[in-house]
Amino acid sequence: MLVYGVAILAGCYLIGQIIGQLLGRVLNIDANVGGVGFAMLFLILVNQWMHRKKWFTKEMESGIEFWNKMYIPVIVAMSSIQNVKGAISSGMVAVLAGIIPTAICFFMIPYISKLSKSKMKD
């Protein structure tokens, strides 16, 4: 059943959210700390565990695959509800806050990848 796969994804998501919220409470931050990360970790673990037990069917996988492929469309929908007018009209600062760090990170890619290559040789 396709929906079993979706349900596993939903379960991992919710458990991750709960742990993230708990972590936020412990750290005294009114926010979800790493909820998505925990959920991903759970999904990987559950996935591997169920594969080993041979419980994971092809159809269940395609249920998760669907949401996997919906990621970019969701981001496109997200970009279309941003307050772009507000960001542009509040001056260049908001635009620069996006462009500068992205440019810095972009130019660091060759150095970081060099680092990983030299590591692999070891």
Binding site: I81, Q82, S90, G91, V93, I112
Partner: protein, 139 residues
Amino acid sequence: MQYIFDIFVKNGFVVALLVTGVIMYVSSQVSEKITLKKIPGSAIAIIAGLILAYIGGVSTGGKNGAADIVGLSGLTILGGSMFRDFTIVSTAMGASFLEIKKSGVVGILSLFIGFYFHFLLVPQLLLQWGTRMLKVLPP
């Protein structure tokens, strides 16, 4: 005419799926035919979404971009934090611990470098430069 808008408003989420699909299709065509796949279709689609959000903001004076346009309010559901996080989690499906282990220290280092520049250093500098950015951030 009014009853057509009513249907759009009532089925906002479905309209959002259609609109997003159309944006994706047009963008992939632009990517293929005009930029000869030099720029990926998804990147063009995101920029198209931002342009749509700008149009929505200018034409309605609202804060929610294109979602303030009548009939497109469903975009707040599809583009909201729930679906965003849900789909991100689903991308972990293909990942395996072996591959993550391979990236090792360098992978974690690059994660922290990205975090440092995007959330700590550059925003700090810009905040000192001009505090107008505060207006953009949600309260």
